[in-house]
């Protein structure tokens, strides 16, 4: 996989948001949503993005699709630099990269019928006849396991899981190569999450899709992602094969994150876990040096001053830490 050219590549991407105005208390504040993020996504794989609120994973997902402009760095899609491309030039590319959103209750326009919602991308991009569109609609409904008679109904008549399927059908309508899924199962009931995760995996196999899968639930990411990137306060702190990252983490934050995930273990007890103290710092005022040092159990002087870069530990595994963890189990009894 590492030999070929990546389908999507982010190189030192930095994104800052401006909040507030000169005339209000506090003045203009800069939220450093992404700082020097580099990531490669190869064809056919699923890269998981995990982290807590404020880590920038959603921002990264959207930035990769050029839904946001970039302050610094480059984004390449299929070898082509799309960083500064105008929106008009991006339009034909949009057919090739799509997004599935988190909230199935707000990402579908309640005033339009399901058929029209899914057919939108077809009508906007393709030069297809109405008959072709209808044919494609039936095909899509079948792919997401929904009955075609649902096409004439409105979103509010469906459950969360069904709505998410509709959102997925819309995303694959134009047969994109890449899909960024932003927390697609977080808002669903547990028993429905598994169905949608299965659907994602099935579609990947059938249609040869590449995914960037954003989630805060580590167990879901473990199921679907071949590689995982862990983010903290706007930077990637660890990146590698999913099982390696989740079971033998090299970054103390990853270790703490894994330890915090509650599992349905019959003998489970919260007291045997390593609990990370404190709260994530504000993205408008990140700490100097390594951003994690304020909560890190093994922080040293160097961490307070020098920002660690993401560097490879071994093949396919990188970590941004001055003192990466040795090969040991992450703090669990």
């Amino acid at each position: 996989m590492s030999g070929q050219q990546p389908m999507l590549q982010a190189d030192g991407v930095t994104k800052t948001f401006q909040v507030g105005s000169r005339f209000r208390p506090g003045g203009i504040q800069h939220v450093q949503a992404l700082t020097n993020v580099s990531l490669e996504v190869y064809a056919g794989e699923t890269v998981g993005l995990v982290g807590e609120s404020g880590c920038g994973k959603s921002t990264l997902g959207r930035t990769l699709l050029r839904l946001y402009d970039v302050n610094d760095g480059r984004i390449l899609f299929k070898g082509r630099d799309i960083t500064r491309l105008a929106q008009r030039a991006l339009r034909p590319l949009r057919a090739d990269m799509q997004m599935v959103f988190q909230d199935p209750y707000s990402s579908l326009n309640p005033r339009r019928r399901v058929g029209d919602l899914i057919a939108d991308p077809l009508r906007v991009h393709g030069r297809r006849s109405e008959k072709e569109v209808q044919g494609r609609l039936h095909e899509l409904m079948e792919l997401v396991n929904l009955s075609p008679e649902f096409l004439t109904r409105f979103p509010h008549e469906f459950s969360g899981g069904q709505r998410q399927r509709i959102g997925i059908a819309r995303a694959i309508a134009l047969a994109p190569s890449l899909i960024v899924a932003d927390e697609p199962v977080s808002a669903l009931d547990v028993s429905v999450q598994a169905q949608i995760v299965n659907l994602f995996m099935d579609l990947q196999q059938k249609l040869g899709l590449t995914y960037v899968f954003i989630a805060h639930d580590l167990s879901v990411v473990r199921q679907i992602a071949s590689r995982t990137a862990v983010m903290y306060l706007g930077s990637i702190v660890e990146l590698g094969e999913t099982d390696r990252v989740l079971h033998r983490p090299a970054h103390p934050y990853t270790a703490a994150l894994i330890s915090a995930v509650p599992e349905p273990d019959p003998q489970g007890n919260i007291r045997t876990r390593t609990i990370l103290r404190g709260e994530p710092p504000s993205p408008t005022n990140p700490p100097p040096g390594c951003r994690f040092h304020t909560r890190c159990p093994i922080a040293q002087d160097r961490c307070r001053v020098e920002v660690p870069q993401l560097r490879p530990l071994e093949d396919q595994h990188s970590v941004a830490c001055h003192f990466p963890l040795e090969e040991e189990a992450p703090g669990r009894a």
Binding site: S53, R222, Q223, L257, A260, I270, L276
Partner: protein
């Protein structure tokens, strides 16, 4: 009849849990329904359960299960005039449903306290944290304003909030999610209630903050002597801090028992399906996640008989009649397959795969 044939749900008594003694709360045949133009909508049907002293009971369920409604009914916080609530809720010997509003108000906050999912909207935005905690203190105890302020700062400190005196002067929107939830817990515990009901307290929080809050809730047992009813949809949360579990589905109790037993050997197909559909963090990765087909029914669309029937892999003719809770040792399940002992799921699956009726 076999010795482990169940008593019908209305009589099921609590199983003493590790380290607990008497029963604090005894709910029997609790039914909550609402009148509407379309007739009577039944949200909760004949729920019975107990909570012992210093015990943590988790109530697990998805949307439409009725888990939140159960806790609101216990606190008598259902204010909808169209609500019909029947059954008995015995707390320390008194039937809460028979109390008049003043007596109930006296109990709320002082004996039984509740914390909610979203601490941002659950606290009044125009008053400081300190003011809101003091309000609760002074509603139940005769305290001077100064004493109340001192106590509220003390409580905030006990909940692990740094610089509690300063936080007491802050407004809810000025704190982070984790701090807000700690402040809510501090407020709920201010009058030393014997029972704390936590309705999805960590759902809106990050996972590392969730771990802190769960640890805090577990500590309440020793530090405050409270029992906790923890309502959640997350089996992982159940695994981490509960003593006993109650699984709810579509307004009924599907399964109930000590946590180690229920999680290791579920005796209801829904619990089994739910546990199987959680992607495992360790061990082998399934090629496909076993999942329960369909989705939980809405209160208006509940099937007759066993409500889980349409989605159940193990259904058969008897399921047309609502099963009672059958007991097997410390576990109870409302499934006919549990009638004669703990179900052997692989065996049941094998039978069905061969196409032989049970």
């Amino acid at each position: 009849m076999p010795a482990d044939m169940a008593v019908p749900s209305s009589g099921a008594a609590a199983t003493p849990s590790p380290g607990t003694g008497d029963t604090l709360l005894d709910v029997r045949d609790l039914c909550v329904s609402f009148r509407s133009e379309r007739g009577i909508i039944r949200i909760l049907e004949n729920a019975s359960f107990t909570v012992g002293q210093r015990e943590i009971l988790s109530i697990v369920g998805e949307s439409g299960s009725g888990k939140s409604m159960t806790s609101l009914a216990v606190m008598r916080l259902i204010t909808d005039p169209n609500a019909i609530i029947t059954g008995t809720i015995t707390y320390k010997g008194r039937d809460l449903l028979k109390l008049d509003p003043r007596e109930m108000r006296d109990l709320r906050g002082r004996e039984i306290a509740m914390i909610f999912q979203d601490p941002m909207t659950a606290m009044t935005p125009v008053y400081t944290i300190g003011w809101q905690i003091e309000e609760q203190l002074r509603a139940h105890q005769k305290l001077s304003s100064k004493a109340a302020r001192a106590r509220s700062v003390e409580l905030l400190g006990e909940m692990g909030i740094p610089a509690p005196a300063r936080v007491a002067t802050r407004y809810p929107h000025q704190l982070s999610g984790g701090m807000r939830q700690r402040a809510m817990i501090a407020m709920a515990l201010s009058c030393n209630p014997s029972l704390l009901i936590a309705d999805e307290p960590t759902t809106a929080l990050d996972v590392t903050v969730q771990a802190q809050i769960l640890e805090l809730i577990q500590r309440l047992r020793q530090d405050f002597g409270s029992s906790v009813i923890l309502i959640t949809h997350d089996m992982g949360v159940v695994g981490t801090i509960s003593d006993r579990v109650m699984v709810m589905y579509a307004g009924i109790i599907a399964e109930r028992g000590p946590k180690p037993l229920v999680l290791a050997q579920p005796s209801h197909p829904y619990t089994l399906g739910l546990l199987n559909s959680i992607p495992p963090m360790h061990g082998e990765r399934p090629v496909r996640l076993p999942s329960i087909p369909g989705s939980p029914p809405s209160p208006m669309g509940r099937p007759a008989g066993c409500p889980f029937q349409p989605r159940c892999d193990f259904r058969y003719e008897r399921c047309g009649t609502r099963p009672p809770l059958f007991r097997n040792g410390a576990q109870e399940a409302s499934c006919y397959l549990a009638e004669r002992g703990l179900p052997d799921w692989p065996h049941e699956r094998a039978i069905r795969a061969k196409g032989t009726a049970a």
